[in-house]
């Protein structure tokens, strides 16, 4: 850790303490000429004094001092340097010094095997060895799940995605903020995640502009893992902003779009979508062959007629088909539901308070050969009311407390739906998605429900349009897989 510091507002102290706090599995050597210890750990004047072989050096010292540090790294046989320091020509018009530094760094790199992440990046993360080598403050502890890896041409965006994903049950394997890509490029990380790293099952990325056209085509052709990208610089305004951000020429968005379509890359437009697709693939890959919709025909059900109407609209707006129920399905549903049920898909359970109706309907629809995937909106979450202070107070004050909102009934209603539907969804090869609408911190337990559903392979998303968009794209990905397996 070259530039290690104990001063709160220094990047060198942020990176150092983030590494220490996350309990990195390996050995950590702070380097700072003015200290002999930092936070109780021996500190070294230069990297050359360190008695062991170094795998990776983090560098946060001022830009003009970086070349000398890199020369030391080469002398010590260091394999990788993560240069977090900025000021390497990224603001072309304002930084002749930085441009000269880049030339110096390039000539230093020719002398050895050292490779560089950055400069001007936020760092790297690897959950396999508990390495949180990031600038910034307040990262949540890593969830030890091996799943998605992120390569991001925006550091802050990438780090926010980690936080968002961690909150929403998405496990991460590795993260890299690519910075200026002076040496290692987006394409290198993509190759590593896609072709080499067995711990990466899904690749998420933020692209502003790529530099190696032929190589990216070859990589996308060869990588068999799901890739979900967000592309910055889709419009003129975005492209100009990207130019001033990373100095990258974003290139024609149409070209990227065509490339993504040809090679089964899923393109999303915001972070929520990115995280949701990460979670969707994480569930899909939990089965072999992956649990993907084999076609466009979606089965829909809910206890509310309005929700059914809107979900049918959402399905068709996204290019899906509201499945035509098999006559056998209608017959079976006639036996399960009141006579005035909708008699078609979407299946309207007409506000039924029959606890078992929802899982029964799910079973029938999963068995229907005309249906490729299910979107269901069961009335779960009533027990969550009890998380709200207002409601607790209200129940206490009410003489009807034992009657009006019976907590046990609500809890068992929620749990039985989650368990029964989860059991059915888990063993089916058809995806099941629930747009549960509003999650809210007033109802803490809502996330428990989301977690329980997630465990059972049911994806919870914030809205029905989001659910339909995900199914549509998963279906396209299935077609892509079929195409590349055949060819």
């Amino acid at each position: 850790m070259i530039g290690a510091s104990d001063k709160r507002n220094k990047v060198g102290s942020q990176v150092l303490t983030n590494i220490m706090a996350a309990k990195f599995d390996g050995l950590l050597y702070p380097v700072n000429p003015k200290h002999s210890t930092l936070f109780g750990t021996t500190s070294y004047k230069t990297i050359k004094e360190i008695p062991e072989n170094i795998d990776v050096a983090f560098i946060t010292i001022p830009n003009v001092q970086v070349p000398a540090a890199l020369e030391d790294c080469i002398e010590q046989n260091v394999k990788f340097a993560v240069i977090i320091t900025a000021g390497f020509g990224e603001m072309e018009d304002y930084d002749t010094l930085g441009r000269n530094l880049v030339d110096r760094v390039h000539s230093i790199l020719k002398r050895g095997d050292l490779h560089i992440v950055g400069p001007n990046c936020m760092g790297i993360v690897s959950s396999q060895c508990n390495l949180v080598g990031l600038m910034g403050l307040g990262f949540p502890p890593l969830r030890k799940q091996v799943n998605a890896s992120i390569v991001s041409q925006s550091g802050t965006w990438g780090v926010t995605t980690i936080r968002a994903g961690t909150i929403h049950q998405l496990g991460f394997s590795k993260f890299v903020s690519t910075g200026n890509e002076l040496d290692l490029k987006f394409e290198d990380y993509l190759e590593y995640f896609g072709m080499e790293d067995a711990d990466t099952q899904i690749i998420l990325g933020f692209i502003e502009g790529l530099r190696q056209g032929r190589r990216i085509i070859k990589l996308l052709e060869e990588i068999k893992k799901p890739i979900v990208f967000i592309k910055g610089g889709k419009t003129q305004g975005g492209t100009e902003t990207a130019k001033s951000h990373t100095g990258s020429i974003a290139g024609s968005y149409q070209m990227y779009k065509a490339l993504f379509e040809q090679y089964g890359v899923i393109e999303v437009n915001d972070m929520t979508e990115l995280v949701d697709f990460g979670r969707a693939f994480s569930i899909a890959l939990s089965q072999d062959p992956p649990k993907l919709p084999r076609g466009n025909r979606v089965g829909i059900f809910s206890g509310g007629g309005g929700a059914c109407v809107l979900m049918a609209d959402d399905a068709e707006s996204e290019g899906l088909v509201v499945a035509q129920l098999d006559p056998k399905t209608i017959e079976t549903l006639n036996q399960i539901l009141p006579s005035y049920w909708s008699h078609r898909n979407p299946v309207d359970l007409v506000a039924s308070w029959d606890f078992n109706a929802y899982s029964r309907v799910l079973k029938v629809l999963l068995d229907d050969p005309n249906i490729d995937a299910i979107v269901a909106r069961p009335p779960i979450g009533f027990s969550l009311m009890y998380e709200s202070k207002d409601v607790i107070e209200f129940i206490k004050q009410s003489p009807l407390s034992t009657f009006n909102i019976p907590l046990e009934m609500m809890n068992s209603f929620d749990l039985s739906i989650v368990r029964d539907m989860g059991r059915l969804a888990k063993k089916s090869s058809k995806p099941v998605i629930m747009p549960l609408g509003f999650y809210s911190p007033e109802y803490n337990k809502e996330y428990d429900i989301v977690r329980e559903l997630d465990k059972r392979g049911i994806l919870v998303v914030p809205s029905a349009p989001a659910a339909m968009r995900i199914l549509k794209k998963l279906g396209e990905y299935y077609k892509y897989l079929k195409k590349i397996k055949i060819s």
Copy 2:
């Protein structure tokens, strides 16, 4: 309350206890031939025994008994009956009895002044008198705010909107579930909310199909309050579903769309959007003249370059313009920000840890005559980490606890940004929106921040695309207001 009951699974007990639990301001008379008291309140054999004049009767008795009850209501001079009972021909093919009942009700209504809400509806709500006359269980207590009113052709959808809105700081005045619209129609409620009820400032609606074409045109022409509608039945699948749900013929969606555009009605596609627009108008109407964007030019800023690129894309994708900064603005920002700031809009604060930079930038942009509205993504929410059990545990275990994540610093950072930006936004006539991304119940306090921002007139939404869409539509509404004032 005709059909009042103490049996848990009866709709009559749900409505009764919902009214009692919400502490209705007026007098409540349970009606049930088999009880003399219900929950400690005197119960009556028939409505004719009640010694007072009745304003509104709720009816939950079986459909075949409803005509007789309505005859009693007319005899007692009751003005309104809310018929929650279903079975009045809404499932045309399966219900000849229901169709006959409708004919009987129509002929009874001719004998007096009684008007009917429903049948087959979920009920009505009025926060002015604490009336929660709804079927169903577990409604949160009303927040006593006078603001949006909802008219919904889907009961469950409408009730879910109340819950979602209540959670998200949207105050409600009144709610009506229109049901089969045997007597009173969607158009009647719209007229009341739009032309008569001073407590309704914003109208939210769910439409499946309207029956009175000329009248709706005249109403939309005359109503000066903001209207936000969601239309079910936009696609063939949705239209067919609507037909089996409310029996309504949804009509050509293109016709509705044209109507909405002509009369300044904002059309949304899901519940999140509906609630967000409700909140947006609630803030806009807190000023006179309303705080609406006078044009398309948006000022954008963030501490992350990637977020700036994506927000510029989002703005242009929604048809907004990334504003060209006034030269004076650039000069002032040169004095506030490090030399390597973006020198253009979006203003990239380059991951600054200067607590005051964000509010200073907001002030400069609000003063720029080239900017009509602001979308800002400041780095707030770090203090929220302390809400997570994981993080609290992690801090306790870490020897760096006093250093790595200083809670006080984070708290004061969050608070100072919220207060300073809030003060500036409140007195400006330009809207300020913050897409804060993920709210999560792991970080309870996030909602405190959202609430504090809301108080100060800053709208928080889940994503930048949502922020841009809202600004675009608010701008169109401003143009509509200008047009109708001129003509």
